[in-house]
Symmetry: C2
Subunit: 278 residues, 2 copies
């Protein structure tokens, strides 16, 4: 899957190597570890819960009151078993033989994702993308009011975009503290991104969504998610290439026992999308 989900930044590195030895020594005292693990919903599951929430909202608008895991899974584009397991992480809110009540599920997912508390958002870098983000209707409607905009350009200072006046990046720390911004969105070019990031952190922002094509350095207690459009494209490009190659191999000689030995692809030369061998 396109794990996009699999991103590079934001990886949790605290491996459990340390307590393994301890657990082996006294198998009963796993409680603290289990406790920590209980709250630990797999990263991938969290991403999917957000998707389920969106789908459920759709059902709710159509006045659907009950869904089965099968229906919901189909609508969300996942396996029903996976869906049930994902939902089981947040508790047992289904009725066997019936399904899940839409409203209950929405409430519980929102609670789990921390959406009961509104998070105010700051967008830095009011270029094309920043404009788009500032005007993006999806944020406020989902509980993410954009409450501050920043840009380096002094000409933009005070100019309202999407109803919110743009401030200079020098004011980031001050404004973020004042408005209790919890999520910062970096939509600047690569150069300024780290500097902006540092200021956001200084302003008390604990989560950053980064559109700039750089790997940000942040303290451990700050969470970064990265969206890199060029990377997304390149991943797609890879799949095109793989498909073309597959098609080419399927047409030509199908089973070449000659190269059955090792990992092949490094030795192949792809020219114009055709596979060529010496």
């Amino acid at each position: 899957m396109t794990s996009h989900g699999d991103d590079v930044q934001g990886g949790e590195d605290r491996s459990g190597t340390g307590d393994r030895a301890a657990a082996k020594e006294s198998p009963d005292v796993e409680v603290p570890a289990a406790r920590e693990r209980a709250r630990a919903i797999p990263e991938a599951a969290v991403a999917r819960l957000a998707v389920y929430l969106r789908v459920l909202s759709g059902f709710d608008e159509e006045s659907v009151t009950t869904v089965s895991s099968e229906e919901l899974a189909a609508a969300a584009g996942v396996n029903s078993a996976k869906l049930r397991k994902d939902l089981s992480y947040i508790g047992s809110y289904g009725t066997r033989g019936v399904g899940y009540e839409v409203s209950v599920l929405i409430g519980q997912i929102e609670r789990t994702l921390g959406l009961t508390r509104k998070h105010s958002v700051a967008v830095v870098g009011i270029g094309n993308l920043g404009h788009a983000l500032a005007n993006y209707g999806g944020f406020p409607s989902r509980g993410f009011p954009v409450s501050a905009l920043f840009d380096l350009d002094p000409d933009l200072d005070g100019v309202p975009v999407g109803g919110i006046p743009v401030r200079h990046v020098d004011d980031i720390v001050e404004v973020c503290q004042e408005r209790e911004v919890t999520i910062g969105v970096i939509a600047t070019p690569a150069q300024g991104a780290q500097e902006v990031c540092d200021r956001l952190v200084a302003g008390g922002v604990s989560c950053i969504l980064n559109f700039a094509p750089v790997v940000l350095q942040v303290p451990d207690d700050v969470e970064v998610r990265k969206v890199d459009l060029a990377v997304e494209m390149q991943i797609l490009s890879f799949h095109v290439a793989r498909r073309q190659q597959d098609a080419a191999t399927a047409n030509g000689a199908d089973l070449g026992p000659l190269d059955g030995a090792g990992p092949v692809p490094a030795e192949m030369d792809s020219v114009n999308g055709m596979v060529v061998r010496p």
Copy 2:
């Protein structure tokens, strides 16, 4: 990784259950499976390769000719062992005791990702986001020339955005075929997305980058990647909530053996970010 990367859509469902039995029967004839697997670079590795490529381009511009896995890994924000393993998927292009030659690595990664062939891109939905994408400098500079724009609004028909005239969505099939568009970007609202998607597919587009908050239905031979900004936000929100909870538990009663039995979090009620128990 926060598998931001982990996305939901685009999951490969062709599981290998079928050939497992076959392999058991005659252990030597794993060749076709191995063959297919040989070309299969792990999804997560592909995403990282794209990141390495960007970092390497940076080095190249600074006229750095050689990098060690350690340096490159640090710049890309990953473990050096992981980096070496990722690079090993595309072949052995390093020199032991020295490192990797930047230019060679760039060339090989580009080849692997299929960037030797230019992919022309079509953007559908010229709203705020579409504008941003049409003007996004990152695409052409990385080998993704935007060669067509579409919108539903007849008033936009013919209006140039970022130097390219916008066409009506009715022309999608025709134009995509004519210009051999391989990647379609959907930046429309949710309603129109599936319809647009169908047309892109009819126009021969095999890869779609979807910004609309819907799960697209596509044939098996079309690859979809989804970028959902609201979902990204919600994932961040989850991490804020988790952190606050952690902090709260760390301060208050640390070890409550009472609830050591089962999965706890479903039973907890979070009000205003504080953990409350009955």
